[in-house]
Amino acid sequence: MSNPQQLRYSKEHEWLSATEDGVATIGITEFAANALGDVVYADLPSVGDTVTAGETCGELESTKSVSDLYSPVSGEVVEANQDVVDDPSLVNSAPFEGGWLFKVRVAQEPGDLLSADEYTAFAGS
């Protein structure tokens, strides 16, 4: 699997798009989606929620387990992907595209986000 070059990544296996007008899109990587198995339920943060980098902001439930969802940056949630709430399998079928999870007006980002190559090495994928 390949991790898109234009994205940045956290060690919790989220990806973060480039910030446009202060807003970045967040999802989980294909590596994480594969590890979870079929995602059947997504509890995403709500619009207006404040999320903190590295802290839990929701959960993804798969056939076999439930996993906490983290935000790779701090800020205010401006959109949650209703398509994923309605059809959680998008996280598996299009993790870097239609399966994005939420958008954040970025207030602060940690300094340890990874490039695509660094993440690929980290995840061994």
């Binding site: 198995g37 339920y41 056939t63």
Partner: protein, 374 residues
């Protein structure tokens, strides 16, 4: 992952197929090949192929084999005809369940006991110990067999393409020796999916060839390889208990709602099978005042119940989830749970599951959740 994991004869093939592997009872087993939901649906509608080589085979033979089994197990093995199989259990002296088993009668005085992977050594040890004084031999045959299952409505047609064995004459819960894809096999019409299907016991060196032959024969019918993840959701929908979840040493068969497997009338050793006294008492308790009952729960929402979560009503804990998963067939999360008898009737209102602090509403239903059309 443990370096001491055991590998089945099909291990290299699973890796070639890109399986996600998982540790299961000390074995490195395929969890899924691609999507567990697709694998589940394939077994319900077409066919699926499973490697179950981690299961534990124990051969019991000799003039007193049947007497030994009647003494060691809770069922009446004397009524099992040659070529038939029986679902049964092995209990402790206190009635607690050591394992649930399938016993195949292979010949006049030869039986194969199939134990769960995690309990195979316990069952082997118990049978060996209980064999004292019987003219019978207990043999560890765990390394003698690989086990491949083909399950699903298309499985008879697929198997017929690679065997001359009389499958039409093979009833559910029966087994016969035959040749499949050119190799000797014990062909059993058993499984753990709620579907028609077959389990094929073969020598490990024949496993890969058999797997490839079945894959080829089954491709036109839509057969795909399936992992343990979908096996769990299939058995859960079919209301089948899993050792360590619905069955434990803390429960007797009567506590698990499976008192019917205990036979106090046997062809031999009816009065001295291991656990008989405790099981008589458990039977009376279950009749007079059942403590908790095993029920089905169907979610009204989408959050998934998991083993160990509390079942609640009116803010009180009334039971515990033993297995839970999203059901691909029902399209909703389902669970098996032991609940207080007062809340066990199908349709009981106000029952929920405590999912990480939130009481999610659930409907109490009778098991199984799914029954195939015959």
């Amino acid at each position: 992952m443990s370096n001491t994991s055991r590998h089945t004869a099909l291990d290299a093939l699973h890796r070639e197929l890109g399986a996600t592997m998982t540790d299961f009872a000390g074995w490195d087993m395929p969890l899924r090949y691609a999507s567990e939901r697709d694998e589940h649906n394939a077994v319900r509608t077409r066919a699926g192929l499973f490697d179950l080589s981690h299961m534990g085979e124990i051969t019991v033979s000799g003039p007193a084999a049947v007497d030994l089994l009647n003494h060691a197990l809770v069922g009446n093995i004397g009524s099992v005809g040659v070529g038939r199989a029986r679902y049964t259990m092995i209990c402790q002296a206190d009635g607690g369940i050591l394992d649930d088993l399938i016993v195949y009668r292979l010949g006049e005085s030869e039986y194969m006991v199939v134990a769960n992977a995690g309990n195979a050594q316990v069952v082997l040890d118990a049978l060996t110990e209980r064999a004292a004084g019987f003219d019978a031999q207990v043999r560890d045959d765990r390394d003698a067999y690989a086990l491949i299952a083909v399950q699903g409505p298309e499985s008879p047609g697929i198997l017929k393409a690679v065997t001359d064995a009389d499958l039409d004459g093979l009833k559910y819960y029966a087994g016969l020796p035959g040749t499949v894809a050119g190799v000797p096999a014990l062909i059993a019409r058993t499984g753990y999916t709620g579907e028609d299907g077959f389990e094929l016991f073969v020598a490990p060196e024949h496993a890969e060839g058999l797997w490839r032959a079945l894959t080829e024969a089954g491709a036109p019918a839509g057969l795909i390889p399936c992992g343990l993840s979908c096996r769990d959701t299939l058995r859960l929908e079919a209301g089948m208990p899993l050792y360590g979840h619905e069955l434990t040493t803390a429960l007797t068969p009567f506590d698990a709602g499976l008192g019917r497997v205990v036979k106090f009338e046997k062809t031999s050793h009816a009065d001295d099978f291991v656990g008989v006294e405790a099981l008589r008492a458990a039977a009376e308790r279950a009749e007079a005042a059942p403590p908790r009952k095993l029920v089905g729960l169907v979610a009204e929402g989408r959050r998934v119940p998991r083993a160990g979560m509390s079942v609640v009503a009116d803010g009180q804990v009334i039971g515990e989830v033993t297995s839970g998963a999203p059901s691909p067939t029902l399209g909703k999360p389902i669970a098996m749970a032991y609940v207080d008898a007062a809340h066990a009737a199908p349709g009981t209102a106000g029952v929920g599951v405590d999912i990480r602090g939130t009481h999610e509403p659930y409907e109490v239903v009778a098991l199984p959740f799914y029954k195939r059309q015959k």
